[in-house]
């Protein structure tokens, strides 16, 4: 990926929680759980070559991606959608899977380090 896209925008979280530490932790927990769920469902979808599973995972994470600017993950998922629709689960899917895993893990690492 050429440009440096954001993994997550913590400013949006700070604007929302307004110095409420408990609320901030709850929100970070919820974002972490959402990305972990995405990671497991999306990878299962690739391994089972199941477009409905991938679609469900994509659908479920959509608000979180937009609300907190998980830009890199959103772009990779968008590229994956095009790849799967055009080429199925063969050509290029392994590289996409690795790129997706790296992006999901980067978000989780940033959330963990931010606490």
């Amino acid at each position: 990926m050429d440009k440096n896209f954001k993994n997550i925008d913590f400013k949006k979280i700070e604007d929302m929680v307004e110095d409420d530490l408990d609320f901030r932790n709850q929100l970070l927990d919820a974002i972490q759980a959402a990305v972990e769920e995405l990671r497991s469902t999306y990878i299962r979808g690739i391994e089972e070559k199941s477009l409905p599973t991938i679609k469900q995972a994509r659908h479920k994470i959509k608000p979180t991606l937009g609300l907190f600017d998980l830009e890199k993950l959103a772009i990779i998922i968008g590229n994956g959608k095009r790849l799967m629709l055009e080429k199925g689960f063969d050509e290029g899917i392994e590289a996409h899977k690795n790129e997706f895993l790296e992006a999901a893990n980067d978000v989780l690492k940033e959330v963990k380090n931010y606490r």
Binding site: K12, D15, M16, F23, Q26, L27, D29, A30, I31, A33, A34, Q56, H59, K60, K62, P63, T64, L65, G66, L67
Partner: protein, 138 residues
Amino acid sequence: MCINLLIVDDSDVDILIVEDAISEFSDTINFKSFSHPENFLSYIESIHPEMFRMEKFIIISDINMPKINGFEMLERIRAQPQMALVPIIMFSSSSSHQDALKSLSLGANAYLTKPLHIDTYQKLICNTIEFWKHHLQA
């Protein structure tokens, strides 16, 4: 009069955003959230039918949830006579025409797509609740 706002959404992120949005109504809204539709249905069944006549309820529900999805839940709620007039707003990240039509056909009072900006998301929730609050209190 206090309104009981019941939210059903398996995403904790969405529940927290709604909870934060409605904090300004804290003195007029009793808020209860459910991550699992089956828990919500059990809760509804545990309430005495008379309560739905004495108190006011608003239900906001996601659609895409595991085990029991929002459509099935909606169907089961509307099948209960005491729930016939409770406002139900379906709130989904899907902008699909079919999802909206199906929700409304099954008895939802409104279908809203989840915005992707926090301010818009929270404003939409507040305006929706404000509208139904006035409607129920009229």
